[in-house]
Subunit: 316 residues, 2 copies
């Protein structure tokens, strides 16, 4: 038995995490999730990426909308609008139970790790989903419309503001969660997978947690990322727009440059064969695979290709 | 223009308040509502009687279930149960928006009076609905199953425990809300109506607020109660059982004894003509009227009879 650590943001990352969870047993996989998008809204602790990963692994996620729960209802939001409440952040009635129960558990003294384990367990998720940290880390974006929290940028302003810089409040100082630290310390750790999540907004916060970057550098196992960019565009979210605004190279070359020195290989979509050379120029191997995940089979096949790539890199 | 102050608990009282609101203009009626049933649950400030009165006045209340909103959905509660959350207190998805928005407003520094006015206004309620107090008052019941909070007794334990004594935590010390104090101080106050709510659990907490009992005694206007007991039984809720456990006289005689010295007249259901003598024996007038409110017409007619009774008492 060997172990895989996946670093993961929301939707795209969760799909690969789903694929990994179908190939690896519950003790063979740890999914460490970005929590820098968490925020307190209407008194509730909301953890969008944790919930997306848990809902996806439980096969309860809405596949068409791309977030939240399948079969969701919206009575709460419509009533809140009628009351003149703050309704820019959508929460379904079922999803709301997760936020309320998490908030109650945190108020009762549980750590975010403990609350996450309880919620995931109640939904039948057997694999370990762990926040990157139990300490609060919050993404702040310096934009042409002022300094914004992540959800204000991402949801309220729909990623329209031009981003000049990103920082993660609470770092340095935030410690790894026991789940993440434990996975990194395992004797049988065999690979680290960077899921196809936004490198700047979803993976960087994980790397910003105290000790993570050093642990990755010192860790003698293959580190493989799956690019979230296909055909020069992010499959979902603002990655390409953001990279342009921050002056990064275009497309997969930009992703490779961002992870240069940190990872050993990058998985690109088959349609991006032309990017191979630019990726390998920064000192990593490239691997082509179908990386647009529309079905469960797609998810599992991409997970299989990613694990096989890591195994090849391990053998050298 | 003259003014009527109604003292009110939940369901039964709210029905008469609805009737009064159809006969009196927005500046002719203040409805002061019991808040001793309020509690904090899952981090939310829940005010059952305030919500019942506001929903009823807005004609949004569910008439069959007897509480909550018509057309309610239950996604939140089913999801909370799935998560293993505390699901003994039912909250509909739409109702939940009220609790979340109230909690947010209180956390932002609004008083319960201000939050109630905002919520009622958003739902189109023009008449003033005011909590009895902005200070926390909480009903506690000494029972054969221990000391219970109101909602634990009423909802979780379904009124099954035998009650030995009732106290209102926070009294003395709780001050009248500005709305209640303002109504009592009006020059044009013409009548005070005790709605058909549980005398022990819904009206007594209002009377326990600092200065209310003295203000009523010193107030030279007719004070009329509508009995919540018909045919020896409460139309809804545990009034009759509770009165027996507390050793009060049966039925309307018990209600009259409870309010003796405080009110000038008691409205009884037509079917309880036999109770007239016992009621008048404790020093108040009795008036027969159809007091079971099944329709809007019933509500308005009972309100009309009650106001006419008060007017007769005023003329002496």
């Amino acid at each position: 038995m060997s172990h895989v650590l996946a670093l993961c943001g929301g939707v795209g990352g969760a799909k690969l995490a789903f694929g990994l969870s179908r190939l690896l047993g519950p003790d063979e996989l740890t999914i460490a999730v970005n929590t820098a998008d968490d925020f307190v809204h209407l008194g509730l602790h909301i953890a969008p990426d944790l919930d997306t990963v848990v809902y996806t692994l439980a096969d309860l996620a809405d596949r068409e909308r791309g977030w939240g729960l399948a079969g969701e209802t919206w009575g709460f939001m419509s009533a809140l609008s009628r009351l003149g409440g703050e309704d820019w952040f959508n929460m379904g009635d079922h999803d709301l139970a997760t936020h309320v129960e998490r908030t109650r558990r945190l108020a009762a003294g549980e750590s975010l790790s403990e609350a996450t384990a309880a919620l995931a367990g109640a939904l039948g998720v057997l694999h370990r989903v762990t926040p990157m940290s139990d300490d609060p880390v919050r993404t702040r974006l310096a934009t042409d419309r002022g300094d914004l929290s992540f959800q204000h940028y991402f949801v309220r302003e729909r990623c329209a503001p031009r981003v000049a810089a990103i920082r993660f409040e609470g770092t340095p100082g935030a410690r790894m969660s026991p789940g993440l630290a434990g996975a990194l310390a395992r004797d049988d750790l065999a690979a680290i997978v960077f899921c196809p999540s936004n490198p700047y907004l979803s993976v960087d916060p994980i790397l910003a947690v105290d000790g993570v970057r050093a642990a990755l550098s010192g860790c003698p196992v293959p580190k493989v990322a799956v690019s979230p960019i296909v055909g020069g565009q992010a499959i979902k979210g603002p990655a390409a727009k953001l990279m342009a605004e921050l002056g990064a190279p275009d497309g997969n070359a930009g992703v490779a440059a961002h992870y240069a020195g940190l990872i050993d290989g990058l998985v690109l979509d088959r349609s991006d064969a032309a990017d191979t050379k630019a990726v390998e120029a920064v000192g990593m191997r490239a691997r082509l695979a179908p990386s647009v995940m529309r079905s469960d089979v797609d998810r599992i096949e991409l997970a299989r290709a990613t694990l096989a790539f890591a195994e090849e890199l391990r053998r050298g």
